[in-house]
């Protein structure tokens, strides 16, 4: 593909260890270069500004998901046809089968259960005092809950986090992180196929409802394993990242924690601010289906791929004042794109909010000060998140 010389171009490697561990200067530079920037290393366009990412997410005809939303053709070939990797009308049919179980209305029946589990976990952690918030808080909560709601076989939860991590790594380029994840992913796909055949899912669970949708002819039987994967994989690593980042951000911004404690109605906005500032999934790709000209004259050619950087858009100084600051009272925080936006907007965002709000409420009721030690960040292609976070809760 030839690209005109006046085109904003960058040779930044968004996947180097340095860039993954400290991505925000690169994102700022990309925002400064133009509405879309050609990433010469990966031969894709990137959008890093809020307005353009938002507009692209809402123009699903020009910016298609149907051939996959990863960076590599190897992964895209595999993921095309699932909920995330599809366009209307197929997408809308698949989305409905998953989405209707995850609406805030449908989740109401689980609210007491989730709140109770949050209370038990927070009381246990307060009792203990010091712990690593990644495994003991951020991983433990969703892993103890989502597979259960999905009706997952109880003795088959050991690989879930490794599967989820490999799934998100594979969205990146064919680097070592992606390659080392492929055998892990193969295990996931084999397991999902087995599960779709054995239908070993607890009755009255989300998984059992997917089976019922197949039996009623609403979706093809061949989609069952994909739908089970679409339900499970995105529900873990992203939430884990957000929960750990919340602890880290409140640990470093005690005055923000005091505001939340003084007015727990701020918890909704506070969680939005957490995922705005430390966006769990940095972004997804789209395929450009027809030539598309941007305000600066840059043309995105039909057939090229476009990387939509949610994490960069969420710190766009054009939209968010003092964008690198953590502010639980930020007036326009609801404009963040951490869950994506539009028809592919995160189908599990209601569940993520339910989990996070429950935990933050329990913490706010008991914990005066969150003390955090030296954090270790993950080296991951897609997920921005902590690997370890020594934490002490002071009551």
């Amino acid at each position: 593909m030839t690209v005109a010389t006046a085109t904003p171009t960058s040779d930044v490697d968004l996947y180097s260890d340095e860039s993954v561990l400290a991505p925000y200067d690169n994102y700022r530079a990309l925002r400064g270069l133009g509405p879309a920037v050609w990433l010469s290393r990966y031969q894709v366009w990137a959008m890093a500004r809020h307005a353009e990412v938002y507009a692209a997410l809402h123009d699903y005809e020009t910016f298609s998901s149907g051939s996959g939303v990863g960076l590599s053709e190897e992964l895209n070939r595999v993921m095309a046809g699932g909920t995330i990797g599809s366009d209307p009308p197929d997408h809308d049919r698949l989305r409905r089968v998953i989405g209707r179980q995850l609406t805030p209305k449908a989740l109401r029946q689980h609210q007491d259960h989730v709140q109770h589990k949050a209370k038990v976990l927070v009381e246990e952690l307060v009792e203990r005092g010091s712990f690593d918030a990644v495994p003991e808080f951020a991983q433990k909560f969703p892993v103890s809950m989502v597979p259960d709601l999905l009706g997952w076989p109880e003795n088959e939860t050991g690989n879930l986090l490794a599967w989820a991590s490999a799934g998100f790594n594979a969205l990146g380029p064919m680097n070592e992180r992606t390659m080392s994840g492929f055998p892990v992913l193969k295990g996931l796909w084999e397991f999902l196929d087995q599960l779709a055949t054995s239908r070993n899912l607890r009755s009255d669970s989300w998984g059992a409802n997917l089976v019922a949708a197949v039996d009623s002819g609403e979706v093809e039987a061949s989609k069952l394993s994909v739908l089970l994967g679409d339900f499970l994989v995105p529900s873990l690593d992203t939430t884990v990242s957000a929960l750990a980042s919340a602890i880290w951000l409140f640990g470093h911004n005690p005055e923000q924690w005091r505001k939340v404690r003084a007015d727990p109605s701020l918890i909704t906005a506070a969680f939005n601010e957490v995922v705005r500032l430390e966006t769990p999934a940095r972004g997804f790709c789209r395929l450009v289906t027809k030539d598309h000209e941007l305000p600066d004259g840059t043309t995105l050619q039909a057939g090229s791929r476009l990387f939509l950087l949610y994490a960069a858009a969420n710190r766009d100084e054009r939209v968010f004042t003092d964008p690198d600051a953590f502010d639980v009272t930020r007036h326009n925080v609801a404009s963040h794109l951490a869950f994506g936006h539009g028809i592919h907007g995160c189908v599990g965002q209601g569940l993520a909010r339910l989990e996070a709000h429950a935990l933050l409420h329990e913490l706010a009721a008991r914990v005066e000060h969150i003390e955090v030690g030296e954090a270790t960040w993950r080296r991951h292609n897609t997920i921005r998140g902590l690997a370890a976070l020594p934490t002490t809760l002071h009551t």
Binding site: T103, P104, K105, A106, I343, G345, V347, G350
Partner: protein
């Protein structure tokens, strides 16, 4: 100015209610109630109306006119 609600896309996240509380309500059942179905949005509600359409996380709201 009118707003149309795509009921198939709406998942009841309630972001519109926060953006435009005079126009939208998530009722006790968790269902979206839109007070101006098929009706013109009043002048003074146009800014929140536009904001509700822009922030709908699943693109269920459309502006017309």
């Amino acid at each position: 100015m009118r707003i149309t609600v795509d009921r198939d896309r709406c998942e009841g996240h309630g972001v519109c209610e926060t953006a435009a509380p005079e126009l939208f309500l998530i009722d006790d059942e968790g269902d979206l109630v839109f007070h101006f179905e098929g009706r013109e949005i009043p002048e003074e509600q146009r800014a929140p109306a536009t904001n509700s359409v822009l922030t709908c996380p699943v693109a269920a709201l459309k502006l017309e006119g």
